[in-house]
Every structure is written in structure tokens, then in C-alpha cells.
């Protein structure tokens, strides 16, 4: 009970414990920001994912200036660039101090549809179309890396969520049914689970990908990758849920629900599965990184999202050669984003586990 004498719900109590974990709150904010940027990627990125200019191939990150040459303060700007070839035929970029491009808010740029519906051509920031802005450098074809990172986050971040949701719906129901009915259904389902868990996930993934034609369009590939992940992911969850369902079905309210004539599916849905939620939420959080890394691995090998579309994995595939890493280290940035995202999901998942654990909470409050 709180001071006003109202009852503190389980959710509120868990929320308090979670809030006390500063690191987790910070990580959750980072994730929130990443997802926000992903949703509005077309607005926040200065260029479209396929806007290229070969004159800027492997252009290094541009320096943002705040001070004019005469020493006076200025709105942030970048200089134009020009390049010469060195003796290895590598481009050496230098700032061309005669061209000055102010970084503007909401300039006109590539056209897009905000949230997929509202047609617009303003971007959050950028320079006038004569110049180019590459804050985090450009790739081999002179496409802005920051823009491609943001566009790529759409694929990489959503594939984890959607994949996890689908495989959890399957895992919950298959596990629930298996544990609730028991008997030969249970035996059959569990042997099937074991078959899936027995095959190493990555090779199963490759095999499944190989089973489909290579020349699919990007949306088809995206859906295919999601389906492949859901196909692999449900088994381990189903096993745990099945165990919980076997315990939960002994509860008297399950007997009461049967005595009231509710159907088996309804009992599983209303009286068994909700009680596995605190486990499931944590398991969801902790398994999303696996999906993100899986997509990255598939795309890195060229089996996932294909150029010109971006995902963190296929952005990294450009960084597979030593030459590129040596002379254009900024193309490793997507790796940093994968790293940050995975760490954040793990920290948040851990904190959720603590927050949703009734015993740990009792300890914390005493």
C-alpha cells in the first residue's frame, strides 16, 4: 500500500524497481531514441538511402566549423571538398575553403513519404543541394553513411521485434498446448522442439535461406528473413513455457475454469499463459539481440538485405576487406550500432528480470 492507502499494483511495484536501475533506464532511453530515429529515418537522414555521388567515394567524415576564417562565430557549416589521387590511386580529400555550405534545419532534399503516407521533401538537417554533407563519411559509391545507417536501422531494429513477436506467439501457444494436454501431444511436440534445437541455428538459417530463390526483391527477402528467424526461435521458448504450463495447470483456478465449462484454448489463453508473462517479457528482451545479430550475419554474407537497400549487416559487408578498414575506418560504424543495441537490450532484459522477480523485490523493499 502506498501513502494514500491505494493498492500498489504489481506493475507499479516492478516499475519502481526498474527505475532504480539507472543503467537500464539509460539503455532503454537509447533504445527508444534508436527506434524513434528508425521510424522517422527518412526525415532525420540528410539523404535518401540510394542518393549517391561518385565524386565523394570514401569521403571521410566532414569537419563541422563554427568559426569563420576571420574569427567570428557562425552557424555551423562545412566546406566543400576536392580530391587528388595519390601514388596508390587512392583519393586524398581536402577541404575547399572557397566553398562554404551552412548546415540548415529543414532544407529541401530527396522526396519521401513520412510514415509511409505523407509526401514530403524536407529533412531535419542538411546543406543546399550544390554541396554535400557527410558527417560520418561516405561509402564506396559516395552514399552518405549516416543516412544509410538510419535507413538500415529500420530493417535491423524491426526485424528483431517482428521476428521475436512471431516466434513468441508460436512458442507460447505450442508450449502452452503441449504442457496443458500432456500425454502423446506433449511427447510429439517436445521431440519436434528438440529436432529444431539440435541443429545449430546459424546453419539452419543458411539452409533455410538456400531453400529459397536468390533473386527475390527486398521486401520478400525481409519477410523471408523474419519467417526464418521465427521458425528457429520458437522451440526453446516452447520448452520452457511447456514446463510452466505443466505446473500452472495444477492450480485450482484452472480446475475452476474447467468446472465453468470454458474451452481448453480459452483456459490456456486466459488462465495459463498470462502467468508466464514475467518470464516471457524477459526472454523476449534477451532474445531480440540474437535476431538482430542473425540478420546482420545473413546480410553480411550477402544472403539477407541486398544493396542498394541498407541494413546494418549489409553496410558492414563493405567493411570485410582490410583495405577498406585501413583507409575508410568509418564504414565500421554500423558495427558500433549493432554493439550498442545488443548491449542495451541485454541490460534492459536483465533489469526487467530483476524488476519482475517477486522475491528479489521483497528483499529490496525490506
Amino acid at each position: 500500500m502506498n501513502k494514500q492507502g491505494q493498492h500498489v499494483s504489481q506493475f507499479q511495484a516492478s516499475f519502481k524497481v526498474f527505475q532504480r536501475n539507472r543503467l537500464a533506464v539509460a539503455c532503454l532511453s537509447v533504445l527508444g531514441l534508436l527506434y524513434f530515429l528508425a521510424i522517422f529515418a527518412d526525415f532525420f537522414s540528410p539523404y535518401s538511402y540510394d542518393n549517391e555521388d561518385r565524386n565523394y567515394s570514401y569521403c571521410p567524415p566532414m569537419k563541422v566549423h563554427m568559426v569563420n576564417q576571420d574569427g567570428s562565430l557562425s552557424w555551423p557549416y562545412v566546406y566543400g571538398t576536392s580530391f587528388v589521387f595519390d601514388s596508390f590511386h587512392k583519393r586524398i580529400y581536402t577541404e575547399d575553403k572557397t566553398q562554404k555550405y551552412t548546415i540548415r534545419l529543414f532544407p529541401k532534399g530527396d522526396a519521401y513519404r513520412l510514415l509511409g503516407v505523407i509526401p514530403w521533401d524536407r529533412h531535419f538537417f542538411g546543406v543546399e543541394t550544390k554541396g554535400r554533407l557527410h558527417l560520418w563519411g561516405a561509402d564506396s559509391r559516395g552514399r552518405d553513411l549516416l543516412s544509410r545507417l538510419l535507413w538500415g536501422s529500420r530493417v535491423s531494429l524491426s526485424i528483431g521485434l517482428i521476428g521475436v513477436l512471431i516466434s513468441f506467439v508460436f512458442g507460447l501457444f505450442i508450449g502452452g498446448i503441449s504442457g496443458y494436454y500432456g500425454g502423446w501431444i506433449d511427447t510429439l511436440v517436445m521431440r519436434l522442439c528438440e529436432m529444431f534445437m539440435m541443429v545449430p541455428g546459424f546453419y539452419l538459417m543458411l539452409a533455410l535461406r538456400a531453400a529459397f530463390p536468390p533473386n527475390l526483391n527486398s521486401l520478400q527477402i525481409y519477410l523471408l528473413v523474419v519467417v526464418i528467424f521465427s521458425f528457429i526461435g520458437w522451440a526453446s521458448l516452447a520448452r520452457v513455457i511447456r514446463g510452466m504450463a505443466m505446473t500452472l495447470k495444477q492450480r485450482e483456478y484452472v480446475l475452476a475454469a474447467k468446472a465453468m465449462g470454458l474451452s481448453d484454448l480459452r483456459i490456456i489463453r486466459m488462465h495459463i499463459l498470462p502467468h508466464t508473462m514475467s518470464y516471457s517479457i524477459v526472454a523476449i528482451m534477451l532474445s531480440i539481440p540474437g535476431y538482430i545479430m542473425g540478420e546482420s550475419a545473413l546480410s553480411l554474407l550477402g544472403l539477407g538485405i541486398q544493396d542498394p537497400y541498407a541494413s546494418w549487416g549489409n553496410l558492414l559487408s563493405e567493411a570485410m576487406g582490410i583495405v577498406q578498414i585501413r583507409f575508410a575506418p568509418w564504414i565500421l560504424l554500423p558495427g558500433l550500432f549493432i554493439f550498442i543495441t545488443v548491449i542495451c537490450f541485454n541490460v534492459v532484459g536483465d533489469a526487467l528480470r530483476d524488476a519482475l522477480d517477486p522475491w528479489l523485490k521483497a528483499e529490496g523493499q525490506s
Partner: protein, 260 residues
């Protein structure tokens, strides 16, 4: 008057891997419409199992190996599972002893009662919630809205037991099996719950099979009584007659225990 429920020659066996043991044998029991019948016996004597067998909800280890259970001229033991679902909760309601564990702790009371009305009466969500208010009003909870919005652990034992009776009444059944409905409540609340049963019997034309070990309750409420001892019905008849002149030793002992 026609019989509502007739159990004849019922036998239940408990099977484990190694052995099997007869739990109930040669059980005869009947309930007529608008009658309150008490099934009395010691703890662990198979009273609850008998109650569950009427709904075919015995644990896996228990088996009905002889006899018949006829409800409204239909043989329950021969009925397919889909037919059982039309009986469970719709024609026969059940009130459990532990109201705290018989409600799902994560849903509000009102939602759990509404679930039954939605399943059996096919009511829309809004109509189901109205029906919940009516039902809670019927079982005299005082403030139906508040009780409907509460979670099980937020209510007192008495209120929760009333809510469970409301749930059992949700689809207007003909028979309610009440398994020790008052043994966790204190005496004053016990009396009120029993009054409630009497009122429901009269207003809703309900029959009640009361499973209990408390002969004090039986004297107060039951029309007829069946005494279960050692897996058999050892004595039965009009409640008053049995309690005033018990024949079997076990009934006498139980009666002595009540008088202390």
C-alpha cells in the same frame, strides 16, 4: 417430483503405477429440483472427488469404473466432451472451498464472472458486464461495481466467496455443487452465506449439493443428508430424521463433535 441428478452404484478407483485402491464404492445419491442435499463425510474420504466426478473433472489418477451419473435424464458418463462443456458452468455450477485460489489472481473478479456469461450465454462484452452487476447484486455484495473491479486478493474472504457463488450462478444453472463453501469463513459470515443459498434456492429455483463435514450447517440448511464413510454411503434420509436419530456410529461421532 422428477429427479434432477441421480448417481447409481458409482465406484471410483485410484490408480498409481504400483497399486490401485477403491476410493468410493456403490454410491447412490439423488437430488430433486429445488432441494438442498448435504453430502457429509470425513476429510480425505472422497467427498470432493464425488463432487468432481459429476462434472467429469476427476484427476487423471482416478477412474470411474462402475455405475452411472444421470443429470436431467442424460447419462453424463457417456457424454462427449463438447456436451460436457454445455453442462459445466451452464447447468451445473461449482463453488470451491478456497475462493482465493479458485479465482485467477491476475484478472479482475468482474472479468472472470463475465467470462462465464460470455461463454455460455453468448453475451456481448457490455451486456456481460451488466449481467455481472446483476449477479453480484443477487449475492448481496453491497457495492457490485467495486467488487467487480477488484482483484481477488483485494476482497475479504466472505465477499470473495459471494463473488464465487455469483460466478457459479452466472449462467443460471439448475444445480450448484458447493464443496465446503464456508469452512474458511468465520461463523457469522457462514450463517449469512447459508442464508444466501436458501434465498437462491427459492428465487432461482436452484438445487444445491452441499459437500461438508459440518453437521451444524446441515441441520440449518439441508433437506436431505447422505453420510459418506469408508467410501460408502452409510446413512441417508431426511436431514431432521437422520440428525435426531442417527443409526451409524460415524454419524453419531460427527454429531458429538458438533455438540462440543
Amino acid at each position: 417430483m422428477a429427479t434432477l441428478l441421480k448417481i447409481s452404484n458409482l465406484g471410483i478407483t485410484v490408480r498409481t503405477d504400483a497399486s490401485s485402491r477403491t476410493l468410493l464404492k456403490n454410491i447412490h445419491l439423488d437430488v430433486t429440483p429445488e432441494e438442498i442435499v448435504a453430502l457429509v463425510g470425513a476429510s480425505g474420504g472422497g467427498k470432493t472427488s464425488l463432487g468432481l466426478s459429476i462434472l467429469r473433472l476427476l484427476p487423471l489418477a482416478m477412474e470411474i469404473d462402475e455405475g452411472s451419473i444421470v443429470f436431467k435424464e442424460e447419462n453424463i458418463l457417456a457424454m462427449p466432451l463438447s456436451g460436457m462443456r454445455q453442462i459445466r458452468g451452464k447447468k451445473i455450477g461449482m463453488v470451491f472451498q478456497e475462493s482465493l485460489s479458485a479465482f485467477n489472481p491476475v484478472f479482475r473478479i468482474g472479468d472472470q464472472i463475465a467470462e462465464v456469461t460470455q461463454t455460455h450465454l453468448g453475451l456481448s462484452r457490455a451486456k456481460a458486464m451488466n449481467r455481472v452487476d446483476e449477479l453480484l447484486d443477487l449475492v448481496e455484495v453491497g457495492d457490485p461495481r467495486k467488487v467487480a473491479r477488484s482483484y481477488p486478493h483485494e476482497l475479504s474472504g466472505g465477499l470473495r466467496q459471494r463473488a464465487m457463488i455469483a460466478q457459479a450462478m452466472a449462467a443460471s444453472p439448475d444445480l450448484v455443487i458447493a464443496d465446503e463453501p464456508t469452512s474458511n469463513l468465520d461463523v457469522t459470515i457462514q450463517a449469512k452465506i447459508l442464508e444466501l443459498f436458501k434465498k437462491l434456492r427459492k428465487e432461482m429455483h436452484l438445487s444445491i449439493l452441499l459437500i461438508t463435514h459440518d453437521l451444524g450447517l446441515v441441520r440449518f440448511i439441508a433437506d436431505r443428508i447422505f453420510v459418506l464413510y469408508d467410501g460408502r454411503i452409510v446413512e441417508s434420509g431426511e436431514a431432521k430424521a437422520v440428525l435426531d436419530a442417527p443409526v451409524h456410529d460415524f454419524t453419531k461421532k460427527l454429531l458429538m463433535a458438533t455438540k462440543i
